[in-house]
Amino acid sequence: MSQEESSKFTRMIILGPTANISQTELVRKIHMMEIPLTIKSTCYGAVINGEEADVNKAVEEIRKLDPCNIFTKDRGFPPGDPRRCRAKRGGAREGFHQLEKEFELLGHISEALEHPKKVSLKKPGKISVDTFKKIAEESEK
């Protein structure tokens, strides 16, 4: 692997189930950004590969396309790497099942992002012995 390639970054762009943009549209729009990237269309959205700064810039722009429905994640292996390619060795790469499972939640995540709410981070405390006793006594009745 050349030095040039080894400095490149890979990002997975994932479209949530309620996305307002199609996969083809996504890829087309990324192309139109005219950032020097390798773009690949995938089952979940797209994979982009390029210099770190270019990838980051693209991610920022891509998010703007549909802020609450586009998700992104780093990827360690370059796109189509034979060491992780299903076609070559059989069996999906390890990260795939994780993504598959998390994808199931993305619809709800999008909804939560559209309607943000402040919540308390304090864990509910234990009830006092007296209250406990009172409830116990009441249930005896």
């Binding site: 080894s6 994640k73 780093d74 360690g76 992780r84 939640l105 709800h108 995540i109 709410k117």
Partner: protein
């Protein structure tokens, strides 16, 4: 802020953190260092005998090599973290997080760092998911304030 996440390869956690302008400390970055190295000794992950030995920093020699090898990758992320979000009971994690003992040790190491920490359980319903997202965002807001007050 550099925020460690568990599971360290979670799309949801990494994405939500990045949205708020923080840096998620994700495993893939560590993996990338290894898989794009010009001299790969040991495909597929370029983990050699050295990693389980580096992992001795986190676990004793009597601990299985797979635990120590995984800790050699995840350990530096724990050490670099300024805050952390742990999501327990995540249903499926293979590869780096396929070992239950490594996961227990990683979470323990994060907890004992004494950094701001948010503990969650993997959501199973719509309500729980929305609750989780709101908790994460509230936690991240608090961190921002902390950062501002610390100058």
């Amino acid at each position: 802020m550099k925020i460690a996440i568990f599971p360290p390869n979670s799309l949801i956690l990494a994405d939500l953190i990045e949205r708020r302008g923080h840096e998620p400390l994700v495993l893939q970055k560590e993996i990338r260092k290894r898989v794009t190295d010009a001299e790969i000794d040991s495909p597929p992950l370029n983990i050699t005998e050295e990693e389980p030995i580096k992992g001795l920093k986190y676990a004793a020699i009597e601990v299985p090599s797979g635990v120590r090898g995984r800790m050699a990758i995840f350990g530096p992320l724990i050490d670099a973290a300024e805050a952390a979000i742990i999501m327990e009971d995540a249903p499926f994690g293979f590869g780096c997080i396929g070992c239950a003992r490594t996961n227990e040790l990683s979470m323990f190491c994060l907890r004992k760092r004494g950094i701001p920490l948010l503990e969650l359980h993997y959501p199973t319903t719509k309500e729980e998911t929305m609750e989780v997202v709101n908790k994460i965002n509230t936690f991240l807001d608090k961190l921002e304030k902390l950062e501002v007050s610390n100058g």
